[in-house]
Amino acid sequence: MTTTANGTFRRALLAGAVCLAILGGMLVGHAWPLWTGDVVLMNATGSLPRDLFRGQYIRLNLQASTLRVTTVGGPAAGDLGLEAMPVTTAGAWWDSWADVRRASSAVVYVQLAPEDGVATPVSVSREAVEGALNLRGRIRSAQETGVLRVEYGLDAYYLQEASARSLEPALLAGRPVQVEVAIAANGRARIRDVVVDAVRIPR
């Protein structure tokens, strides 16, 4: 066995360790909010698409995904045919709505407050607000009317095919969907469970 072969042996093992470390980091990053975060329940609607690559999953549309920033003005949410949650701005925010529109995919923090046992968005800011429960998201789109679409990385819950089939009638009938979410101190959130029509979905 030559020195070169020995060196390559070690370097190939090191390459494997690097790849496993990245996957490990991904796992820890995922688990961190689940280990340390505050658990809250959030309202959502759900549909059951089937994707060639992603398989069977519930596409979740959180109530907090569509916000209407009331400090900007514009028509009432009902007039737009959107179920947008009215929120105010808190702390740092852009000077004008044109700036908000330009800041596409910028990070924002949505402050949640409990209402009948469900965490509901009350305000939105560019930075986490001290003392509040901050949910970190990215702006997906911003309309002139003050309606903000925010993505939290909580929009898909993968299922077994049998579970998906059993859920289909409830989701098609528009039964209430609630998502149990763990939110870490930095605002990053992970889904713990999904409850459809008061029934917990088996993982």
Binding site: A5, L23, M26, G153
Partner: protein, 429 residues
Amino acid sequence: MLVSGSRTRLPRAQLDWLREQSARWHAEGLVGDDVRAAILERYEAETPESRGLQALVGIGILICALGVLLLIGYNWSRLPPASKVGLVLTAVASAFTASAFSYRAGRRALGETFLFAGMLLYANGIWLIAQALHIQGHFPDAFFWAAVGALACAWLVRSPWNGMAGAALLLIWGFAEGVATPGNNYLFLLAWPLAIWLARRLDAPVMLALIAVAGVVWVAVLDNAVTGGVLMPASIVLAGCALYAASAYDRLPLTFAWRGTGLLAILVVFVPLMVVEAQRGLLRQTGDAPLPLIVTTVVLAVPAVFGLKRARTAADWAIAAVAVATCAWAGLAMFGVRSATAGAILFSLAALAVCVGFVRVALVSGSAVHLSAGVLFALLFLIVRWVSVVGNLLWSGVLLLAAGGGLLLLARLWRGRGRDVAAAHGGGG
């Protein structure tokens, strides 16, 4: 080629060639009888049995691998998340361990194959773990981390295959990130030079070409995000010129990667720039060109024009002229001097200049690569200009006659050059 014991197995035809050639060398007194025998002793012909066995083993392994994948796939949705994650991690660890032991046993090809398989399993593992744990991250990040892993493997084990995969993933990430977060992907500016450094270290021209393409794609996507794509073709042309210029500072065979991707970028974008209607559409919007557009143009123009310092051949000068013409066109457009017809004529002349420059180099040096590039630009010019007059039979006829005549003249010059070279060689002998 297989190594069996101390003898290397060759295909029958190759071994026959070696026997025939060595007999001639022996007859000419180049090698002695014992040397010829010693050389031939190192090789043996592959038998139909050994080839059949190889095929059988290969097919068997392939079918087993497919069977394992299908069995896992069949049960995948039934597996609990922890088992899915465990399976992915075990598969990655096994592939890399197998690679390491193959390298230690001196079986480089097998080691490289396992390493590549490990990298593929790792990259797929990112998506599989995300699915198993309901992770909905920023999707381009998955490509970024896959590229980081592949490039790390390439760097650590000096593996060009992993390097190429890493470069391809970098390209996809540059595009996906640019589209998902428009105008925000400045991490690419750090990743790109590192990837270039690695490709040069590995002496991998294909990897370098992929990274160069990733650079052009990044420029195009950034331009589209920042300026709405107003002068995207100009940015791509300048990026192409800059890549071509970079070839003057590199060694063979990496120069081909720089030049090839540079020329490809210029070739593709010359099509709209030579068309009056496309020019009109672009120039209509240049009034809105904001400061970042000017900065982008200048930043790209500097390396493109910097290539002038090392311009040696007519082809180099032609590309430098393209860079200068593009800067002038973009500059004039930004300051309100906009003529679609003049722009189309300018870039048509630039295409002809590139064609003439490359053909001239080909005729002087006998480089078939330069001849091909020159003919490609000539055909591009011909097709774009012909499409613009296709309804007019007279102009179509004149254009095709001129183009056909030009190509025949070129063929004659090329053949004459070949004769001159043969005569010079004959005279010298």
